[in-house]
């Protein structure tokens, strides 16, 4: 069948390995369409200020062009879609995370310096003796308010129109009433025209109106009484020469500290927001150095290793035991294996939530059994020891069927005559297991064990869904729980409501990565040996 297909495809002129003009033209056309799309995206993103994203797309575009234009990159053409997605979805976030780990990016340091200064410079305050205005209130059909301002005691001056948050440059003033003020105002940015309102309305809305800042960059006022408004003044003024910010209200001078990303006064007060800066290895030093800052990290790290190790070893051991017990001559083997595969097939999120119900100390069967077994009521969700036992039990439950299946496959691959030889030598069952079965098994299953250790190291779902890392550890600088593993602690640091510390969370992520990458590289040495064996066949 296959041979026939090949015959058909092999007619002369059907392309073959050589490059014809039409395939080249087709390839160039495809590349041009791709480039046009990419170019449009890069320009749009750049225009919107997403320069990091635009850079990534540009890198991918250059790479794709290189791959499809250069003959020596031919093998890469096969993986070009994969490479493009890999760079965009996997590599870029990694680089981004590594970069963030060298910054103080987080709550209070989210903006770059220029933008943080802008935010501060927009803050205004109401001075004791500010420039005073008389105002007239206008309202449109949508209920929006507008103010017409005239400087107090100067009726002849050009009136100014302001709405909340904005001052209007070219308002169209309607016909003047008897008191010399317009009956209505049309503001180009707003659809509905504004009509002058009666005093009663002002009185009713006064308390709301007094909370609102009218006007923007040129004039900003706040209403102070029934017909008076006072100009707000810019509170913080930045001086580029000295890199300081002066608080006009208090007269305090804040000096920019680019090491910490903050403006700090002489007596140590800090302006909020600060700004994001690169802070070198400070996040890493925090992890490795100062015990006060490091807080519960040692505890969490030890538990992470114990959790991953115990889960892996116990599920392997249980899986191996069952595989050995079921060996060959076991009645109902097929049925039992099918039943064992069920826990493995059910989505983990669901079983974790079900286990949470089972461990419930009041109504869950397992929780009740545990309390009866130990003779005292135990609430696993509040007990720093038993919560760990529960988590390992669940994780073993999730993983061991996999090892039953793997081990029974691997056991069958061990040549039977080796056991016969061992029998002749008089080795008993335990010796055979120690000297033959286990070593031979580990050669094949070893890399998978390392693989599941790596997976368990980061099993966020289980920790988060079962008890959210709890019960809490008392007296830590940032919240942490007894059952938190590193990755769930990272989650707390990065996404917890108390205050986000992306920089520190990223640094811990990078450290986790280094630990796991070292293990992976170690494993890779073995895999490479395999590959060479495979290639020589």
């Amino acid at each position: 069948m296959r041979a026939v297909n090949l015959e058909e495809e092999n007619k002369p002129g059907k392309g073959g390995g050589s490059l014809t003009a039409s395939t080249l033209a087709l390839r160039l056309l495809g590349l041009m369409i791709f480039d046009a799309g990419a170019f449009w995206m890069i320009l749009t993103m750049w225009g919107d200020g997403y320069w990091q994203f635009a850079t990534v797309i540009a890198v991918i575009t250059i790479l794709i062009n290189y791959i499809w234009l250069r003959p020596e990159a031919y093998p890469l053409r096969w993986m070009s879609p994969g490479l493009a997605f890999m760079i965009l979805i996997s590599v870029y976030p990694i680089i981004y995370t590594v970069y963030i780990s060298f910054t103080n990016y987080g709550t209070g340091h989210l903006l770059p310096k220029v933008q943080a200064i802008e935010v501060l410079e927009q803050r205004r305050y109401l001075p004791e003796s500010g420039l005073a205005y008389n105002f007239t209130l206008y309202q449109n059909a949508n209920g929006d308010f507008a103010l017409l301002l005239t400087p107090e005691g100067d009726r002849e001056a050009e009136p100014i129109v302001v709405i909340p948050g904005e001052d209007i440059e070219e308002p169209e003033l309607g016909p003047l009433a008897e008191d010399g003020l317009p009956v209505n105002i049309v503001i180009p940015e707003v659809d509905e025209p504004f009509e002058r309102v009666a005093r009663a309305v002002i009185l009713r809305a006064l308390s709301d109106l007094q909370q609102t800042t009218f006007g923007g960059e040129e004039v900003a006022v706040q209403i102070r009484g029934i017909d008076r408004a006072a100009a707000l003044q810019q509170r913080y003024v930045y001086d580029e020469e000295t890199d300081t910010i002066t608080d006009k209200q208090t007269g305090i001078i804040y000096i920019g500290d680019d090491e910490r990303g903050e403006f700090i006064s002489a007596d140590g007060n800090v302006l909020i927001p600060g700004y994001s800066v690169t802070i070198g290895f400070r996040n890493y030093q925090r992890f490795l150095g100062n015990p006060a800052f490091r807080g519960p990290l040692v505890l969490i790290f030890v538990w992470t290793v114990i959790f991953a190790l115990f889960s892996t070893v116990l599920s392997f051991a249980l899986g191996l035991m069952i595989a050995l017990v079921f060996g060959r001559n076991m009645p109902g083997q097929k049925v039992i294996k099918s039943l064992l595969i069920i826990p493995f097939a059910i989505p983990g999120v669901l079983t974790i939530l079900v286990w949470r119900g089972l461990w419930n100390p009041v109504n869950g069967i397992v929780g009740i059994w545990l309390s009866e077994l130990m003779g005292t009521p135990i609430n696993v969700f509040a007990d720093s020891f038993w919560v760990k036992v529960a988590l390992i039990t669940i994780n073993v439950w999730l993983a061991y069927p996999y090892y039953v299946l793997i081990n029974s496959g691997a056991l069958q691959a061990i040549p039977q005559d080796m056991y016969e030889a061992a029998d002749i030598d008089g080795a008993n069952a335990w010796h055979q297991f120690r000297a033959l079965t286990l070593p031979l098994l580990l050669v094949g299953v070893g890399p998978l064990l390392i693989g599941s250790f790596l997976v368990n190291f980061n099993s966020f779902n289980l920790i988060y869904l079962f008890n959210n890392g709890g019960p809490p550890i008392v007296g830590t600088p940032t919240p942490a729980g007894h059952s938190d593993i590193l990755i769930s602690y990272v989650y707390r640091l990065a996404f917890a409501s108390a205050g986000q510390d992306f920089g520190y969370a990223s640094a811990i992520t990078v450290i986790i990565f280094f630990i796991l990458a070292t293990i992976t590289l170690f494993q890779y040495r073995f895999m490479r040996t395999w590959e060479r064996v495979g290639e020589s066949v």
């Binding site: 993986m79 069952i322 990755i487 992520t509």
Partner: protein, 290 residues
Amino acid sequence: MQVFWQSKKNQRRIVTAVKLLIAAVVLFYSLLPVVYTISSAFSPVQGVSRQLIPANPTLDNFREILYDQPFGLWMWNTTKIALISALLSAMITTLTAFAFSRFRFAGRGQLLLGILLIQVFPALMAMIALYSLLDQLGRCCIPALGLNTHGGLILIYMGGAMGLNVWLMKGFFDSIPRDIDESAMVDGASHWQTFWYLIFPLVRPIVIVVVILTFFGVYADWILPSIMIGTKSELFTLMLGLQTFIGNNYGQNWSVFAAGAVLGSILPVLVYILLQDKIVGGLTTGAVKG
């Protein structure tokens, strides 16, 4: 007169009995949550129950989850996302694995190692970058791939196409003798023709395994949709829907959740049981359930 356990026949019986006992204990451990979920699904009482078998079984929970909750919609969303992701990423994986297996080029080893290392980078922090990536992509250029879209989710799942499955599949390509390619090339076939007409039919079983594993990987995923889909319940995937459904008030919807869990597990359980030998073969070679 022999003692009972000294006879060979009796010894064998004892061994079998012990084995069956161990099997029973293990099966109990294994199936307890499953049985418990099924029984909760038929229980008339909401809330976690002490009973393993409910007193007055009822179908109300199934009615509730099927008719009063958007279960069907969630299921459809999940199936759609998982199927598209699985097919596309299997395609990418297959082409990549073929190139790794059949060509020798500069940087091949490093690239293979790089794929492996990328896998162990904790994806949680990458979510920050991916979140803003989808946000920006949706706002500037392609709304269908933005936040709160299924397209955006699928796009991110594509990033996983260059993963352990490449290693898995490369192993299978390696096991196919290269004589096949060489004789085809001698006859004038291009690489593409060799791949499509000769090699692909031989690796089709493992491609199907990769599709199935990816499908159920996406099917069971919870964290990515929970970050990228937000709170629009008509866009929820099944796992996200069921999790948020009981997330806030754990006990109150327990039995309805159990009914949903039973219904949501039928498909993967059936497929895994029917195809267990193939899937186990695929798993043994490389992928580890996450």
